[in-house]
Symmetry: C2
Amino acid sequence: MQSRTSVLIEGFARREGTERTGPCPVRDVLDRVSDKWSILLVVALAVRTRRFSALQRAVPDISKRMLTQTLRDLERDGLITRQVFPTKPPSVEYRLAPLGQSLLDPLASLMDWAGRRHAEISAARVRYDATGS
Amino acid sequence: MQSRTSVLIEGFARREGTERTGPCPVRDVLDRVSDKWSILLVVALAVRTRRFSALQRAVPDISKRMLTQTLRDLERDGLITRQVFPTKPPSVEYRLAPLGQSLLDPLASLMDWAGRRHAEISAARVRYDATGS
DNA sequence: CTGCATCCTCTAGGATACTG
DNA sequence: CAGTATCCTAGAGGATGCAG
């Protein structure tokens, strides 16, 4: 099973030599994925729908500022939806949109890789640092 | 097929409420993936083995500084290997290590997603911006 | 050619305080 | 509770020049 991989890589590499007609769409999307908090929030919302403060508890080391901003970005991209309940005090629920759901599978394969290869990577680091020092 | 996804998400979410015994391994690895240049270089090296200057041409908007640094990090993590040829002037070849190869599949599924959903995301953005303005 | 070292800029992002 | 506004710092990262 090399076909899918190579096709995608070719598509990704096609930029080489071609004058950019605008930013590469794949890179554009990957930029969002490689955002520091986006993945964390998507995963947090994959577990269940959550409110603002619940998200802050789920991802403890995010600041309110970044939480708000990242949620806005994800909403703008159609990955999550935001529903306001005009109670008193108001509450807001965030949930994964279908588009966000569709991201879970690729994300899972990445996290799966991370989990399986983590030990190997740590070992490589130790080895490298030992040699270098 | 929800099993694999949900298992991983649970593993990822398990941190909640647990005092951290150190940084989450998955997050640790994802930090590398979400590095601005790492993925680009891995993909560039997936196509073929390349030398330093060739990599700079493959990823035109990377600076020498960042190229060197990212290559070191990838080498340290065991994702790529570096081979020096003591010619005159010297040349250095970078190639994907097996560990790096193993990343291509998860990466492909992400890029596949990006490619397929990009239009949808762009549309969502336009819609969001239109409403907001 | 490869790649450090230096300097300098710019912005992501944290802390804090305030509002509907 | 769910944000917004302001301020401010650390670190990412570009440009340049030198060296092996």
